[in-house]
């Protein structure tokens, strides 16, 4: 079996000694090509967990491996260049054009300029922002959804071993959000990306992820496929979380049914 893309083993983070840990002895692994969603309420430790993977935050205890390699053995800067990172509010640099934003990590890695430019054009095409009309724009000249997609393209640019995303679609209106989510899923499957995506929205997790890890107060409460969570929630908290998307879909279905009946009645 291939090595997991990302592996956490008994990982713990205490921001200050003596305070309750923000992340308590969490273990999970993400297979290559898999999307794992970290779900939980605000302050449950999702962001902390994510940032420890590319060493933006150093764990207090435990081991993290990326493509089988212990991250503490890798220069943190080189590690970050090999892992894509996208987050809410996007973090595009406002003084750089779309093209320069996407090209940042390849240039830091000193790719030949030809290759970088070709890569940028390919990625912009992939996210449906044709290079010719978007490459030289500034982030301020894009819509929220377009910016989000550029942020995603930037995370993909240096052909990373894995992608980390922190509430990437949080700031989008529902329609844009749906479009970007669909596009993300398509690109992810096309490229076989390994992804950890943080979200507080269980519906989003169910739509995007192969497996879902539910966090609560620093603990990993349950890890499983959406179906496993729906059919066999480990505790009340998980049951309550997964209840939301189920109720939504039931409700929508109930709205659909009379409409369909009514339609037939008329016919």
């Amino acid at each position: 079996m291939a090595v997991p893309a990302i592996e956490l083993e008994q990982v713990r983070k205490e921001y200050a000694p003596g305070t309750p840990p923000a992340v308590r002895d969490v273990s999970f692994s993400v297979s290559q090509g898999e999307v794992l969603a970290l779900v939980g309420g605000s302050g449950s430790g999702k962001t902390t967990t994510l940032k420890m993977i590319n060493r933006l935050i150093e764990p207090t205890a435990g081991t993290i491996r990326v493509m089988g390699e212990d991250v503490t053995a890798i220069d943190p800067v080189m590690l970050r260049r090999s892992i894509g990172y996208a987050f809410q509010g996007v973090g595009l640099f406002p003084h750089l054009t779309v093209g320069d934003n996407v090209a940042i990590t390849p240039r830091l890695l000193r790719w030949p300029e030809e290759k970088t430019r070709a890569r940028v054009d390919d990625l912009l095409a992939l996210i449906d922002l044709p290079a010719d009309s978007f490459r030289d724009r500034l982030p301020a000249e894009l819509s929220g959804g377009q910016r989000q997609r550029v942020g995603f393209a930037r995370a993909l640019a240096a052909e990373p071993r894995a992608i980390l995303m922190d509430e990437p679609f949080g700031a989008l209106d529902p329609i844009t959000r749906d479009a970007v989510q669909t596009e993300f899923r398509a690109v992810q499957q096309k490229l076989g990306l390994s992804v950890v995506v943080v979200t507080h929205d269980m519906t989003e997790a169910v739509l995007l992820a192969d497996r879902i890890a539910v966090m609560h107060e620093g603990d990993l409460r349950q890890l499983g496929t959406p179906q496993q969570l729906l059919t066999a929630p480990a505790d009340d908290y998980v049951a309550q979380l997964i209840e939301t998307p189920r109720r939504h879909s039931d409700f929508i279905e109930s709205l659909m049914r009379p409409a369909v009946v009514g339609g037939e009645g008329k016919a």
């Binding site: 590319n54 933006l56 800067v77 080189m78 970050r80 260049r81 990172y85 987050f87 509010g89 973090g91 595009l92 640099f93 406002p94 003084h95 940042i104 990590t105 830091l108 890695l109 930037r154």
Partner: protein, 536 residues
């Protein structure tokens, strides 16, 4: 254009050049020092506290004092260096402060994003933090530019030519057109520099790089213009050396007369009319001997003496009474001849400065009354006032009434009952002439004594210290035979009356100091004095 205005424009290239050569390099070096310093302050709290404390404190020192202090710190060096250092110091605070504010204002999310895409700390600083802080830093640079261009006018009193020369000489000569000209030129310069920087900023934001390059090139051109005067003397000196040798050879062939050919003599002056005229008088002699005169007018009183002691200037005219009290720190006056000998001996012993000789007049305090009143009441000396002191009003500079000289006069002549009316020295002669006051405490060489038909009362008890005008040579210049020979004819040649006429022609008739000097030289018969030779 009027000829006076034309005269002002003629000086513009030199003074604007001097101004730019101070201001532009001070700003450029200021940026190169302050931005890294600001970065250091942001990165290290231990650096930040002391740095901000020091630069904020220095900033509160009044500019004119800071310039004078720089002269002292640089061991009495006058001219470009103290002015440059002082301006540099003034440019630092706004740039450091804005660098700190700009960097601290960078959104933490941007810093995190820079880390997350794999930048090293230096890359984060250069590629993200500085570019995002750039508009704020640039605002600091613009503030510094406006400050420095304005404060550069204060370089004149420390002997560095600038647009301030118009303002200082205009104030001394009471020539408001000249003052206004200097102010407008300075304002235009700071406006232009400020707008150029603003243009660069706007064009950068709109990514119009052609405009950025053009504006930067213009700034670079101004920098080059500014630095040119600094570079030219180096090459000019090379030429003059050759010229000097040729001249020396020529002179040896003709007659054994020493010559100043190829030499540049720096003449100091304090900032009032008489000093400006005397500068041109000395310059005329130097030019007549084949030398080049470089007048450094409008310097502070102690600065000009220190500069002479350090050989930073070669010659200037001072007054024995002033030297006696301010340089030699002697409390009470002595007789005129004794003082002159004592001053000469002690200046030579302590500083190696040579007192070449008196010019022949005194510029002392003088009590003046209306001529017709002097005649009517038979007023000849101060003693004649004693009996009526209780009914008299005297006008004078408020500072004069606080001086020990006035104390002595009142004690010795019994003038305690006199009413003192403080007024600006500009108006006191007029006040006497109009009868607003009965007498005034003026200066013996002031041209307005004649202009307003006033008479000077004698001082038989020598209550006022003697203020003989004397030519002082720096230690180095004293050894210059040719210079000594060229200036010796001035010794004991200028009477009080002649000096008063010269001062009057400038103060009242609007002549330039150079014209007055030429007329003075002709009147006392000391040969050619090329009137327009010494430009300031």
């Amino acid at each position: 254009m009027s000829s006076r205005l034309q005269g002002l424009f003629e000086q513009l290239p030199q003074l604007l050049g001097g101004h730019l050569s101070l201001a532009v390099p001070a700003i450029v070096v200021g940026v190169l020092l302050s931005v890294p310093l600001g970065i250091l302050c942001v990165k290290s709290a231990a650096v930040r506290g002391p740095v901000m404390l020091v630069i904020s404190l220095v900033q509160t020192v009044p500019s004119i004092a800071l310039l004078a202090i720089m002269v002292a710190i640089l061991g009495g060096t006058i001219g470009y260096r103290p002015a440059f250092v002082a301006l540099l110091i003034y440019s630092i605070l706004p740039i450091v402060r804005n660098t700190i504010v700009g960097l601290e204002g960078v959104d933490p999310a941007m810093r995190e994003a820079a880390r997350a895409v794999g930048m090293r700390p230096l890359q984060q600083l250069l590629k993200v933090e500085l570019p995002l802080a750039f508009p704020v830093i640039l605002a600091g640079i613009r503030t510094a530019t406006v400050w420095v261009v304005g404060i550069a006018t204060l370089s004149t009193p420390v002997g560095a030519p600038s647009l301030g020369n118009y303002i200082f000489s205009g104030l001394q000569l009471r020539d408001w057109q000249r003052v206004l000209f200097g102010c407008v030129a300075t304002m235009l310069l700071s406006l232009i520099l400020d707008q150029l920087i603003a243009l660069i900023e706007r064009s950068l934001q709109r990514r119009r790089f052609v405009v950025v390059w053009v504006a930067t090139a213009v700034l670079g051109g101004l920098l080059a213009v500014g630095l040119a005067p600094q570079l030219v003397p180096a090459t000019a000196a090379g030429f003059t050396e050759v010229g000097q040798q040729a001249a020396v050879a020529e002179g040896a062939a003709a007659e054994q007369q020493p010559t100043l050919a190829g030499q540049t003599i720096r003449i100091g002056a304090k900032g009032f009319t008489e000093q400006l005229i005397l500068t041109d008088l000395l310059a005329g002699r130097i030019q007549a001997a084949g030398g080049t005169a470089r007048p450094l007018g409008n310097m502070g009183s102690t600065i000009v003496f220190d500069a002479l002691a350090k050989n930073t200037i070669d010659v200037y005219v001072d007054y024995t009474g002033t030297l006696w009290s301010t340089v030699l720190k002697e409390p009470g006056p002595i007789g005129q001849a004794a003082m002159r000998v004592a001053v000469a001996g002690r200046l030579f012993d302590q500083y190696g400065i040579v007192l070449l000789g008196p010019l022949g007049f005194e510029n002392t305090y003088a009590l003046v009354v209306r001529q017709e009143q002097a005649k009517r009441f038979g007023l000849r000396t101060i003693t004649d006032l004693t009996s009526q002191a209780g009914q008299l009003r005297i006008g004078g500079d408020p500072e004069f009434f606080g001086r020990p000289e006035w104390q002595r006069v009142r004690d010795l002549y019994g003038l305690h009952g006199i009413e003192q009316v403080g007024m600006d020295s500009t108006f006191m002669y007029q006040a006497v002439a109009d009868g607003q006051v009965d007498l005034a405490a003026g200066f013996s060489t002031d041209g307005r004594i004649d202009a307003f038909n006033l008479a000077v009362l004698d001082d038989p008890l020598a209550a006022f210290p003697p203020y003989d005008a004397v030519i002082l040579l720096s230690p180095a210049a004293a050894a210059n035979q040719a210079l000594v020979a060229s200036l010796e004819p001035l010794v004991n040649r200028i009477s009080v009356a002649a000096m008063r006429v010269a001062n009057r022609s400038v103060d009242e008739d609007g002549r330039t100091p150079a014209e007055a000097a030429a007329a003075l030289a002709a009147a006392v018969g000391i040969g050619e004095n090329p009137g327009d030779g010494a430009s300031r």
